[in-house]
């Protein structure tokens, strides 16, 4: 038996029945890291001795409590884990040691999960291929000529390469779902407000959310249960009664109304991706779902609105990186020169571009025309979703218009931004969305199908995506 092929659920059950030990589980994943990660490069840092020691400690416990007892999980490097280097893929944070745990990390530890390492990402989560990491590129484990997607590319690659049982990433405009789609795994962006952002290095605070990347839908439901909930340290988290997402998985989906977005056909979508969407829909119809065409009239404005709002928030959030209290320390005779030197040396090109766009959009004389206009368009997009959800329970669309691309294939920033056209609208509206692997293209690259739910209806999208996942082998070519 290869432990690393087991799901989170199976692994926990086997550990609790003492069929396998936590140490064996951790060793199995560490072995894959040893053998594969020189090539894949999913991890920025690991600590084998510490991880093994934790595993041994857990094996000594007679009461094996916790939904993820002994499960080795990978954490995106923009999430603070006490005592580890947290760089967010940036040189400006090289050497920064987290002095505290993010709330999500605290919850993982409370459920006895084991943090196996910190994963590579686009610098400050700004990118769609992980090529913007200041350290190195991560390769797509399905085909190493291709990017793993981004910005949570390391997290997605670690799960696809079986170097971690599951991983956590952050999603500001698609950074969990796009790499999940490119690497052939499951990725969930929860509803904004479901998961605490405390300890997540802020990029776009009104858009950022932490979520799981997993081998299957059931594992995603298990991990979501671990991390969700109100947190006094994040005033945007919502106090809702605890929900056991696992109860939704096996419900009958008969009679569910699914929306197909009319405007998708205005975009250039790869042939095989369209085919996969058609197959997915017919699968769901075969299981008794009803399909309706709905409209998100402002869909094409989501991308420009996002690329004003996210950089505006980033320009403010990233002003804290000044070299005084942690991270890279520049030179300069006076304070201004010191700040400028630190930041100019410390930030990569894409981060500089976004800081400048955001600074411009918020600057005197341009605020109304750019930031305010974009925030109004955002309102219209959220209203479009609200209207669509009056008639349907969930939306079904591709996660990305194409499968994974090659390194250096996207020549301009705008071309790269376009990778997120089908994921960004959900961040602007705040709704939950899951990407599940569904078929492959003629190059053998995975295709992701996205199921989008109403605000705080993660259970609903777990239900539909689980049904789709279970059916696909028998119903799809």
């Amino acid at each position: 038996m290869d432990i690393t092929e087991l799901t989170v659920k199976e692994t926990v059950e086997k550990i609790k029945r003492k069929e396998i030990s936590v140490k064996e589980t951790v060793q199995a994943y560490l072995k894959n890291i040893d053998e594969k990660d020189n090539n894949i490069r999913a991890f920025l840092s690991t600590n084998k001795e510490e991880t093994l020691k934790e595993a041994e400690e857990l094996d000594k416990e007679s009461e094996k409590n916790g939904h993820i007892f002994g499960i080795p999980v990978a954490i995106k490097d923009n999430i603070n884990v006490y005592g580890t280097e947290t760089t967010a893929g940036s040189k400006i944070l090289k050497g920064y040691i987290s002095p505290y745990d993010a709330t999500v990390v605290r919850k993982i530890k409370e459920e006895n999960g084991i943090i196996i390492g910190k994963t590579n990402c686009d610098e400050f989560a700004m990118g769609s291929s992980t090529e913007n990491s200041a350290y190195f590129n991560t390769k797509n484990p399905i085909n190493t000529d291709y990017v793993p997607g981004g910005s949570s590319g390391g997290s997605a690659a670690s799960v696809a390469a079986r170097e971690a049982a599951a991983a956590f990433g952050s999603d500001t405009g698609g950074s969990i779902r796009e790499p999940a789609a490119f690497c052939g795994i499951v990725g969930l962006k929860p509803t904004y407000g479901r998961v605490s952002r405390y300890g997540l290095i802020a990029f776009g605070s009104s858009l950022d959310i932490i979520g799981p990347l997993t081998k299957n839908v059931e594992d995603a439901a298990i991990l979501t249960r671990v991390i969700t909930g109100f947190d006094p340290h994040d005033e945007t988290t919502v106090a809702l009664p605890h929900e056991d997402y696992l109860n939704f998985l096996k419900k009958d989906i008969k009679g569910k109304k699914l929306g197909i977005i009319r405007e998708i056909k205005d975009f250039n979508v790869q042939k095989e991706v369209n085919l996969a969407l058609t197959n997915a829909i017919s699968n769901l119809v075969n299981q008794g779902c009803e399909v309706l065409e709905i409209s998100i009239p402002h869909l094409k404005y989501a991308l420009p609105a996002y690329y004003l709002i996210a950089p505006s928030e980033a320009s403010s959030n990233l002003s804290r990186f000044d070299g005084v209290r942690y991270g890279l320390e520049g030179n300069g005779d006076n304070l201004r020169d010191f700040y400028e030197d630190t930041r100019t040396k410390g930030f990569g090109r894409e981060v500089k571009r976004r800081i400048l766009i955001g600074t411009f959009a918020l600057s005197e004389g341009y605020f109304d025309e750019y930031y305010l206009k974009a925030s109004k368009v955002r309102q219209l997009i959220a209203m479009d979703f609200e209207k669509a959800f009056e008639n349907v329970d969930a939306l079904v669309l591709p996660t990305t218009a194409t499968t994974a691309f090659k390194f250096n294939e996207k020549k301009s920033p705008l071309e790269m931004y376009m990778s997120d056209i089908f994921t960004i609208p959900m961040n602007l509206a705040g709704v939950p969305a899951i990407s599940i692997p569904f078929g492959k293209d003629d190059k053998g690259l995975p295709i992701g199908i996205q199921i989008v739910g109403k605000w705080f209806k993660e259970g609903e999208i777990f239900n539909i995506s689980y049904a789709l996942e279970q059916s696909k082998e028998k119903d799809c070519v």
């Binding site: 002095p99 404005y301 420009p304 571009r353 400048l356 750019y370 955002r378």
Partner: protein, 92 residues
């Protein structure tokens, strides 16, 4: 259409050489693309900042354990009576 030096100053960045040229070109292209937003009628539409269901609340003003000096020093050596070192600000 934008004053790059002014924006750099506001952002505390100092671009140079080829990087500066490349970034200016990119920004022009990106800002130009944003013009399609002008097509959208946003009259009487309120801007959206925080999405549905999120309400800002005030936390009780209770003291919590903050970072210890020991933790702080892992990231930057403090000096004197536990101060961060900064460049001279006054008397410039």
């Amino acid at each position: 259409m934008f004053d790059i030096e002014k924006i750099e100053r506001l952002a505390a960045l100092k671009l140079q050489g080829k990087e500066k040229d490349a970034i200016i070109k990119d920004l022009e292209e990106i800002l130009n693309y944003f013009n399609i937003l002008k097509e959208v009628n946003t009259e009487n539409i309120e801007p959206l900042v925080y999405t549905k269901g999120t309400k800002l609340f005030l936390r009780r003003d209770e003291t919590e354990k903050g970072l210890s000096l020991e933790e702080t020093e892992k990231n930057r050596e403090l000096f004197g009576d536990n101060f961060f070192k900064v460049k001279k600000i006054i008397g410039e």
